[in-house]
Amino acid sequence: MLLAVLVANSEGNILVERFNGVPAEERLHWRSFLVKLGADNLKGVKNEELLVASHKSVYIVYTVLGDVSIFVVGKDEYDELALSEAIFVITSAVKDVCGKVPTERLFLDKYGKICLCLDEIVWKGLLENTDKDRIKRLVRLKPPTEF
C-alpha cells in the first residue's frame, strides 16, 4: 500500500497531503515526521535526487524539486524501489504541468492540474498510471496515444 503522498514548501508548510489507509489520529505524526526528515536532510540536495529512509516496516522516499519537497510513504509491496518509481512519475508529471522546475508560486498556480495528475498516478494507495505523457492526456480526458 502506498500510504501517503505529501508535498511541502521549503519552510515545511504542507501543500498537498494525501493519505491512504492511515488512521486519522496518526496523520499528524506522519506530517511532522516527514517535514522534520526533510528539514534534516534535504538541504543542498540536487533536484530530483532521491533520498530514502525507513521506519519500522514503512519506507519513505523523498526528494526536492525547485521550491517544493515531495515525500512518498509505502509499505509491503511498495518498498523503496516501487516508491522511487512512484516519485519519479510524480516529479515528471509536476515538471510537465509547470513547464519547468516549479517555484512555490508556480506550483500553487497549477494546483488543480497537479491534483488531477496525482489522482491519475495514485488511486487509493495503488499505483495506477506511470507514463507522464499518458497522464498529461488523461487529465484532459483525452485517450492515450497508443490507443
Binding site: 532521491l50 533520498l51 521506519h55 523503496e80 495503488l126 495506477e128 499518458r134 484532459r140 480526458l141 483525452k142
Partner: protein
C-alpha cells in the same frame, strides 16, 4: 551586475506575497461554491472553486456533514456542463468529498450515464468514481458494465475497471470473483499497465487456489511480461509457488530457480532486486543458489543512487541473519558505507557488519561505531544498541568491550527510548552472562546517579533489589540506593526504599545498617515513602539485629503479584472507606481479556508512527497464571513448558483455531484459542472433541468448554490429558470443533434464542519429543560442558541419509530435539563439509542437558552425525539418543 540581482529579488518578493491561496478561508470558499448553482455555468470559475476546495481538503481541513452535503449537491449540478476540463475536476472532487451512502443516489444516474458514454475517458473516470463511492447493492447493477470494461479495447478503461476490482475485492469478494474469466483475458493484454493490474487482481482472486496460481506462474514465466512492474509481481508469485511446492526430489533442482536467476540480468533495476530478494528468501537456500544474487547486490552497494544502496544493504542485512558467511565477501564495500551521508544506509551497514563479523573483528568495529554514534539520531542508535546486544550474546567472551561501549553511550545525551534500549540491553547481558553481572550492576548504579527518567530509575532500582543481594559484596550498592532517597522525586524514593528492604531481607549482615536507613525514611515528606518504610520495618522484624529473615517475608518481598492489576484497580475504586478493611482476597482473579488471545490481524492495521508498543509480557508467566485460575487444572503442579501456538485452521477460514500445548510432569493441557469471524453468528458451548486413539499413553480427564464466542472476540477452551509421570509420551490427536450456532440479527446485534448444533473439522495435532525440552541457553558452552563432566555422557553415531545440504541436516536435528543453539553454531559456513553444533536445554523433570553434534557430508550428500549428550541424569542422556534414533 547589481541591477539584475536586485530585480530578481523583487520578483521573488512579489511571488512570495502573492500566493493564489493567500488568506484562503473555508467559509468563504463554501460561499463561492454557490456558483455551481448558477443557471449559466462558468466552467473556468467553477474549476477554480473546486481547486480551492481541493487545496483545503489536501491541507487536512475537514468539512462538517452539512457542509459536505451542501457542496456535494452543488457539485452534482456541474454534470450539466459539457466542458471537459470541468468534468474531470468534478470526478475528482466527488471522490474527495466521499459522500455518504444516502447521498450517493443523487449522482449514480449521472455516473451510470457516463459509464455507458461513447467517450472512453468518461467511461474510465465514471467507473473509478462509482467504485469509490458505491456499496454492494449498486455493484450488482453495474457488474455487467464492469465486466465489459475489463476487456475494453481502451487500456485506460480496462485499467480503471481492474484497479476498481482490486479495491472492491476487499468489500465484495464474491462479486469480483465472478470476473475471473475477463481478468484472465486481460492478463494477455498487449498494454503493459493493463497486464500489470490484471495480474495483480487475478492473483488476489485465486490466491487460495494453489494449483491455479502455479498454472498462472508457469504460463507467464514462459510467455511475455510487458512491464517491469508486472515482472516484479510475477517474481513474488513465483517465490510463493516455490515455497509451496518444495524441491524436485528426482533431480534435486528447485523449480523456477532458473527463471529467478535469469531475472538477475533484467535491464530494470527493480526486477533485478526483486529477483535477488526472492532468491535470498528461498527456504533452505544453498550457497550455490545464493551466490549470483549476492554478487548483484554487492555491485549495487557502490551505486551512486541512495535508493539502490539502501535496497542492497537492506537485503544483505536480512541475509546476514541467516547466512552470515555468504555476506562476508561484501564486508569491504559495507565498511565504506559506514560513512554514508544517508544514516539509514550507514545504520544498516553497521548492523550487518555486526552480524557477519567474527570475534576478532569486534574491537575494530567498535572503534568505528564509536565515531559514528555521535552523529546519528536516536532511532538509529537504538538499532545499533540492539545489534550490539545480540553480538554480545553471540560472543560472551567479548562482554567486557561491549559492556564498556554500552556504559559509555549510557553517559551521553539521549532520549528516553534510546536510554531504555541501553538499560534493557545491560539487564539482559547481566542475566545471560554471569561474569558480566558485577560490572553491569555498577554501570547501572552510576547511571541512576544522574538519570533524568523516573521510569528507568525505578526499573533499575527494582532490578538491583533482586540481583544486588546475590553478589559477592552487596554493601557497595547501598550508597547508590540511599542517594536516591536523599536526592530524587517521591516515586524514585519509594522504589529505593523497597530496594533497601530487599537487601535487608536477603543479606543478614547488612540488616542493622539497613534498619537505620529505613528509619530515616520515616521522616520523608511523601506518604508513600513513609508508608513503605513503616511496612518494611515491621515485616523485617522490629529491632534490626542480625537475624535470618523469615521465608514468608522473603516471599512477600520477592514473590510475584498474582492478582490482575485491572481487577485490583476496579476493586479499589469500588471500595468505600469504612470500618471494614479492604480484603485483597475478595479481588477476582479471573483474567478478562488475555494478552495471549489478542485478535491477530497484524497485516490489516496500518503501521504508522503511533505510540510505542507496550512492554512485552512474558508468555510463559501469563499462561501459568491463566491455568492456575482454572480449578480443574489447579492441582496439576508446576507448568514445565508451553509450546508456541500451532494453527489448526487455514488462514481466512470462518473459524480460526490455534492450540498451545501446556506440558506438566503428569499431564498435558491443550489450550484451543478460537476466533469466530462471522458477524452473523454467535457460537455457544464451544468445545474441541479430541480423538486420542493414536496417542495410547494419554487419557482424557477434563475439558473446559467456552460458554460463548461472539464474532471477533477470541476465547479459549481447554482439554486435559493424563500421561505417565516424567515420560516424554508422544502421539497424534485429531480434533473437531463442536458448538451451538445462533443467528445474530445484524442491525440489533442480538442473537436468536434457538441454536443448531454444528461441527467443524480441525487439523490434527501432535505431541512430539521436543515438547518436553525447554530452550535454555548457556553463555559459555565449553565451561558448562566441562563442569557437567563425563559421568552421564552418552555418545553414538548416526547416518542421516542423503540431505540437500549440511544446513538442512543441522536444522532438522535442532528442531527434532527442540534445544537452544549456542554461540551461533546453528549457522553452517557455506561450502563446508563438516560442522559442529552446540545445543543446550532443560529436559522434563528439570534436568539440564548439553549436546555436541558433529556433522560430516560426503560427495553423494550422505550426512553422518556424531551425537554426544551430557546431562545430570544418564536416563535423560539415553532418552535423547532414543529421540534421535526414532526421529
Amino acid at each position: 551586475m547589481a541591477q539584475p540581482l536586485v530585480k530578481k529579488d523583487d520578483d521573488r518578493d512579489d511571488e512570495y506575497e502573492y500566493s493564489p491561496f493567500l488568506g484562503i478561508e473555508k467559509g468563504a470558499v463554501l460561499q463561492e461554491a454557490r456558483v455551481f448553482n448558477d443557471p449559466q455555468l462558468d466552467p473556468r470559475r467553477c474549476s477554480q472553486v473546486i481547486t480551492k476546495l481541493l487545496y483545503l481538503l489536501n491541507q487536512g481541513e475537514t468539512f462538517t456533514k452539512i457542509e459536505a452535503t451542501e457542496v456535494f449537491f452543488a457539485v452534482t449540478k456541474l454534470f450539466q456542463s459539457k466542458d471537459v476540463g470541468l468534468r474531470r475536476m468534478v470526478y475528482l472532487i466527488i471522490k474527495e468529498l466521499s459522500p455518504s451512502a444516502d447521498e450517493v443516489i443523487i449522482v449514480t444516474s449521472s455516473l451510470m450515464k457516463d459509464m455507458n458514454s461513447r467517450t472512453d475517458m468518461y467511461r474510465a473516470n465514471a467507473i473509478r468514481v462509482l467504485c469509490r463511492i458505491t456499496d454492494g447493492t449498486l455493484l450488482t447493477q453495474i457488474e455487467r458494465y464492469l465486466k465489459q470494461a475489463i476487456v475494453d479495447k481502451n487500456p485506460v478503461v480496462a485499467s480503471a475497471a481492474l484497479v476498481s476490482g482490486i479495491h472492491l475485492l476487499q468489500t465484495n469478494p464474491e462479486i469480483v470473483k465472478r470476473w475471473s474469466n475477463e481478468v484472465q483475458e486481460a492478463v494477455q493484454s498487449r498494454a503493459a499497465l493493463v497486464q500489470f493490474h490484471a495480474l495483480g487482481l487475478l492473483h488476489q482472486i485465486r490466491q487460495n487456489d494453489r494449483l491455479a496460481v502455479s498454472k498462472l506462474v508457469t504460463s507467464l514465466t514462459r510467455g511475455t511480461v510487458r512491464s517491469p512492474l508486472a515482472q516484479c509481481l510475477l517474481i513474488r508469485y513465483t517465490s510463493q509457488v516455490i515455497r509451496e511446492s518444495g524441491m524436485n526430489n528426482q533431480t534435486g533442482e528447485r523449480p523456477f530457480y532458473d527463471y529467478l536467476e535469469g531475472c538477475l540480468r533484467h535491464k530494470a533495476e527493480m526486477v533485478i532486486f526483486e529477483a535477488a530478494r526472492a532468491i535470498t528468501e528461498l527456504s533452505g537456500v544453498t550457497s550455490r543458489e545464493l551466490n549470483p544474487a549476492i554478487t548483484v547486490l554487492q555491485l549495487f552497494l557502490s551505486s551512486s543512487k541512495p535508493v539502490l544502496r539502501f535496497a542492497a544493504v537492506r537485503t544483505l542485512n536480512k541475509v546476514a541473519m541467516t547466512h552470515p558467511t555468504a555476506v562476508t565477501n561484501c564486508n569491504i564495500d559495507m565498511e565504506s558505507l559506514i560513512s554514508d551521508q544517508n544514516r539509514s544506509i550507514a545504520t544498516l551497514a553497521i548492523t550487518t557488519l555486526l552480524k557477519t563479523g567474527n570475534e576478532s573483528s569486534v574491537d575494530r568495529l567498535m572503534k568505528q561505531i564509536t565515531n559514528f554514534m555521535s552523529d546519528i539520531a536516536d532511532e538509529f542508535k537504538i538499532v545499533v544498541v540492539e545489534a550490539i546486544r545480540s553480538l554480545c550474546l553471540k560472543f560472551p567472551l567479548k562482554y567486557r568491550a561491549l559492556m564498556n561501549f554500552l556504559s559509555n553511550i549510557l553517559r551521553e545525551e539521549g532520549g528516553f527510548d534510546y536510554k531504555k534500549a541501553i538499560v534493557d540491553s545491560i539487564v539482559i547481558l547481566i542475566r545471560d552472562i554471569p561474569d558480566a553481572k558485577e560490572s553491569g550492576l555498577l554501570h547501572l548504579c552510576e547511571f541512576i546517579e544522574d538519570c533524568e527518567f523516573t521510569y528507568l530509575s525505578t526499573q533499575i532500582l527494582h532490578f538491583l533489589g533482586n540481583e544486588g543481594p546475590k553478589t559477592s559484596d552487596p554493601s557497595k550498592y547501598i550508597r547508590y540506593i540511599y542517594n536516591r532517597v536523599i536526592l530524587e522525586n517521591a516515586t524514585v524514593r519509594a522504589a529505593a526504599v523497597s530496594t533497601l528492604a530487599k537487601f535487608g531481607a536477603m543479606v543478614d549482615s547488612l540488616k542493622p545498617r539497613i534498619f537505620i536507613l529505613l528509619k530515616r525514611c520515616l521522616f520523608d515528606n511523601d506518604d508513600e515513602v513513609r508508608d513503605r518504610a513503616t511496612l518494611y520495618l515491621n515485616t523485617l522484624g522490629g529491632d534490626g539485629s542480625v537475624v535470618e529473615t523469615d521465608s514468608e517475608v522473603k516471599e512477600f518481598l520477592f514473590g510475584s503479584f498474582d492478582i490482575p492489576l485491572a481487577n485490583m484497580e476496579t476493586s479499589l475504586k469500588n471500595y468505600e472507606p469504612s470500618e471494614e478493611p479492604f480484603d485483597i482476597d475478595s479481588v477476582p482473579r479471573e483474567v478478562k481479556s488475555l494478552p495471549l488471545a489478542e485478535k491477530k490481524a497484524p497485516g490489516k492495521k496500518p503501521t504508522g508512527l503511533g505510540a510505542p508498543p507496550s512492554a512485552p509480557t512474558s508468555a510463559a508467566d501469563a499462561y501459568e497464571k491463566l491455568l492456575l485460575l482454572i480449578p480443574e487444572f489447579a492441582s496439576f503442579g508446576k507448568l514445565f513448558k508451553s509450546s508456541a501456538p500451532v494453527e489448526l485452521t487455514e488462514a481466512e477460514t470462518e473459524y480460526a483455531v490455534n492450540v498451545v500445548k501446556h506440558i506438566f510432569d503428569n499431564y498435558v493441557v491443550f489450550q484451543y484459542n478460537c476466533t469466530n469471524t462471522i458477524p452473523e453468528q454467535l457460537l455457544e458451548n464451544v468445545i474441541v472433541v479430541v480423538d486420542a486413539s493414536d496417542a495410547e499413553d494419554f487419557s482424557e480427564i477434563a475439558s473446559k468448554p467456552l460458554r460463548s464466542l461472539p464474532c471477533d472476540s477470541p476465547g479459549q477452551t481447554f482439554v486435559a490429558f493424563e500421561k505417565p509421570e516424567g515420560v516424554p509420551a508422544v502421539g497424534k490427536f485429531s480434533n473437531v470443533l463442536r458448538f451451538i450456532v445462533k443467528e445474530v440479527e445484524p442491525s440489533t446485534g442480538e442473537a436468536e434464542e434457538d441454536g443448531v448444533e454444528d461441527e467443524y473439522q480441525l487439523e490434527d495435532l501432535e505431541v512430539v519429543a521436543a515438547d518436553y525440552m525447554l530452550k535454555v541457553g548457556v553463555s559459555n558452552f565449553k565451561n558448562a560442558w566441562e563442569s557437567m563432566g563425563p559421568d552421564c555422557e552418552r555418545v553414538d553415531e548416526y547416518g542421516l541419509g542423503p540431505r540437500e545440504s549440511l544446513t538442512e541436516a543441522v536444522n532438522a536435528v535442532i528442531s527434532l530435539l527442540g534445544m537452544q543453539p549456542c554461540e551461533g553454531t546453528e549457522v553452517v559456513a557455506s561450502n563446508s563439509r563438516s560442522h559442529t553444533c552446540l545445543l543446550s536445554g532443560v529436559y522434563i523433570g528439570n534436568v539440564k542437558v548439553l549436546v555436541r553434534l558433529s556433522f560430516g557430508i560426503d560427495g553423494q550428500k550422505e550426512v553422518a552425525m556424531k551425537l554426544a549428550v551430557r546431562s545430570e541424569d544418564e536416563s535423560v542422556s539415553d532418552a535423547l539418543h532414543e529421540i534421535v534414533a526414532s526421529g
